[in-house]
């Protein structure tokens, strides 16, 4: 899957989780940029991503993520 496609699908997933359809994710996007992205909604986000891409992340992988770019990289390494 192309990186662009992953971003496209992530925009939909983020929109669903944070109830904001206007998000345009970039590699540098972090939790500070998205309203309501706290440690608990982070778990929900990770679960939604796992479901959408049919992948599974370990606790260590989830804990290390710094921004959306790293999440995309993690997804790419699994599919």
């Amino acid at each position: 899957m192309q990186e662009g496609q992953i971003y496209e699908r992530l925009n939909v997933i983020f929109g669903d989780v944070f109830d904001d359809d206007s998000l345009a994710l970039k590699a540098e996007t972090t939790a500070d940029d998205v309203d309501g992205w706290d440690s608990l909604s982070h778990i929900r986000l990770v679960l939604s991503v796992e479901k959408a891409f049919s992948v599974k992340f370990s606790a260590a992988e989830v804990g290390k993520l710094k921004n959306v770019g790293e999440l995309v990289g993690l997804i790419q390494s699994k599919i």
Partner: protein
């Protein structure tokens, strides 16, 4: 996956694509009246919503409350949540799901892992929150269950301590706030220490949890509190699915998030039951629901019910479940599109039928729409529509009842009848927290009955419903592709069959070639899919008249104005062939009195009534106006005989 039924709440209709848009639209409207708003949120909650959709709906509710809107007429309820695990995700899911059950839920959670403190401190959030109930969501991590394999004494002590700890919590909440507690059984982890040996060996975690669950169930039964059987839920979907070690390690989530919707639905069933909102009456369809096949066409010998046949056993299981529900106080009724005497026959005469007429409080077999029939049953039994569950294999019937009577619960059913009984019970519509003597006797109060009640005028706006079905009728002359199915329908159809003339496949092929025959095979598709061939017509020319030799239809599509559309097609063809008059004949048989008035209803005039009951009817082609009907007509394969404007696809 078999656990999809539970995880996806598959008894509820799937979430529509425009769900998010509907949520936004509901918020944007400022004019919505107070009473209307609660009902409309409830309508959105009727779908099978996943966690994200539940969150979205909870947000709508929170924003609307913030803006001063009320969820009336839903029943208010205040729930506190106390947990040793992360209950954060449960709160919005509970609020949105409660609306599905008619509850306007205010839900607040205590801080993470503060169970004992919150229960014992009179000034705690939980004790000052004026809650009607507190959900004590404790899993096995939150109790002092210490495995001691082989040490029976230590095991008993451990279970006892765990029970005492929970009792402290329950008593604290009762003493300080007067709320009742909803307490949980423990879902045991899938891991075993020895293997199968764990079950019998005192002190294994499995052994401790089993002991605790049994002790808890007994203790709760004698108290004001209510039991939420989480162990049963987890075992139903599979312990290995339920427990997600990664999620536990990351965020102390008590179970895999895919089961949140299921878990909160179970909690809300209990709350609804507490507030007297459990369903009380099950209305059953007959053909392909209580038995396999169509009694009017297949006859007593042809329907499938009972042992020795897979389909028959599946339907027998539906009857068994219905009967068990009746034994615990659920009232049973029948609503079927059938003639009354035909529909009652299996109950009277079929030896494998478990259900008898005596078990049914009301028996509605007629050709009116089911929404009208359910309304009549509700009036007869003096029960509100929100007490009703309607079980029907036919998606079109389910949908019309859902649209016109939103208060009635209508479980979705899969194609395979083997799952009907399971889906009905998985839905939890009959959740109860007590069993009284009155419950046991209730069904018997209706013993003498199996009454039929008069219908009021149709409750539903059938016209707009039919339009919403997007029906497409495809009309073709007989051809080789359709021949076998045509011959089969001619051989098999009994109820909607005007003349019941039987023809072989060879004779059908002859009619196909005969220049004096006008033949039609008609298929019908709608939003639910393709109904296949639903009508066969044979007209034979005599001068400038057509004798309608054969007119048969599938009873499945009755009440959708397909009869009128078919007549319109015959008239259309008649004009192409310069025919002036249609002659229709009704030949009575034991099974076709459904269509005795068929030609009369379609505007034919009576020519002759014979001694054997046969009637002959006539209609002038020129004098019959065209009417607007709620379906689109496609004509295929007519191009050679008469070039038609609509035959472009052919």
């Amino acid at each position: 996956m078999a656990d999809d039924l539970y995880a996806r709440l598959a008894w509820l209709p799937p979430k529509p694509d425009d769900f998010s848009a509907s949520c936004r639209a509901l918020l944007a409207e400022e004019t919505a009246s107070a009473a209307d708003f609660g009902r409309r949120v409830q309508a959105l909650a009727q779908y099978a919503l996943d966690e994200n959709a539940l969150n979205r709906l909870a947000k709508v509710i929170a924003l609307a409350r913030g803006a001063g809107k009320s969820l009336a007429p839903l029943t208010p309820f205040r729930l506190g949540v106390l947990s040793n695990t992360t209950s954060h995700f449960l709160v919005p899911a509970l609020v949105a799901t409660a609306v599905r059950h008619g509850i306007d839920l205010v839900c607040e959670e205590a801080d993470f892992d503060q169970v004992i403190q919150e229960a014992l401190n009179p000034d705690s959030m939980i004790n000052r929150g004026k809650f009607d109930a507190v959900l004590v969501a404790i899993d096995h991590h939150g109790l002092p269950l210490r495995p001691a394999p082989g040490d029976a004494e230590a095991a008993a002590r451990s279970v006892d301590e765990a029970m005492k700890q929970l009792a402290t919590v329950r008593e604290g909440i009762r003493a300080n706030s007067n709320a009742l507690c909803i307490v949980q059984t423990l879902a045991r982890p899938p891991e075993t220490l020895f293997g199968s040996f764990d079950l019998g060996l005192a002190g294994t975690l499995r052994n401790l949890i089993d002991g605790f669950n049994r002790a808890l169930a007994e203790d709760v039964a004698g108290s004001k509190d209510i039991l939420l059987d989480v162990a049963q839920m987890a075992e139903t979907v599979g312990l290995a699915n339920w427990h997600d070690p990664t999620l536990w390690n990351i965020g102390k989530l008590p179970f895999a998030s895919q089961y949140i919707a299921l878990y909160v639905d179970h909690v809300c069933r209990l709350i609804a039951s507490l507030r007297g909102k459990s369903r009380r009456c099950l209305v059953l369809d007959l053909d392909n629901t209580l038995w396999g096949g169509v009694i009017g066409d297949d006859g007593l010998e042809g329907i499938l019910i009972g042992q020795g046949d897979a389909t028959g056993e599946a339907h027998l299981e539906v009857q068994r479940v219905a009967l068990s529900l009746r034994d615990r106080g659920i009232v049973l009724a029948v609503s079927s599109k059938n003639n009354d005497d035909v529909a009652r026959k299996p109950f009277k005469e079929h030896p494998e039928m478990l259900l008898k007429e005596d078990h049914l409080a009301v028996f509605q077999a007629n050709w009116s729409d089911k929404a009208s029939n359910i309304t009549a049953i509700a009036e007869e039994l003096a029960l509100g529509l929100e007490s009703f569950v309607f079980l029907d294999d036919n998606p079109a019937e389910r949908n019309i009842v859902r649209q016109t009577l939103p208060a009635v619960a209508v479980p979705e059913l899969p194609a395979d009848p083997a799952y009907y009984a399971r889906v009905l019970l998985a839905s939890g519509y009959f959740e109860a927290i007590t069993l009284s003597d009155e419950d046991r006797k209730r069904a018997a109060m209706y013993q003498d009955n199996a009454r039929r009640v008069a219908l009021q005028k149709n409750v539903a706006d059938i016209g707009s419903y039919l339009l919403s079905l997007d029906m497409v009728m495809t009309v073709q002359p007989f051809d080789e592709v359709g021949r076998a199915r045509i011959a089969q329908l001619i051989a098999k159809s009994n109820q909607f069959n005007l003349t019941t003339r039987r023809y072989t496949e060879v004779e059908v092929a002859e009619a196909e070639r005969d220049p004096d025959c006008m033949t039609l095979q008609i298929r019908l598709a709608d939003t639910f899919g393709d109904n296949g061939m639903i009508c066969v017509i044979i007209c034979r020319r005599s001068d400038r008249a057509w004798h309608i030799d054969t007119w048969l239809m599938s009873c499945r599509v009755l009440g959708r104005r397909v009869e009128e559309a078919t007549l319109q097609e015959i008239l259309f063809q008649a004009r192409q062939h310069e025919i002036d008059t249609l002659i229709g004949t009704y030949r009575p048989t034991e099974r076709n009195n459904l269509v005795e008035k068929h030609y009369e209803k379609l505007g034919f005039t009576l020519l002759e009534r014979k001694d054997d009951g046969t009637t002959v009817w006539q209609l002038s082609v020129a004098e019959t106006p065209e009417v607007e009907l709620p379906m689109q007509v496609r004509r295929l394969g007519f191009a050679e005989k008469a070039p038609l404007p609509l035959a472009a696809e052919a």
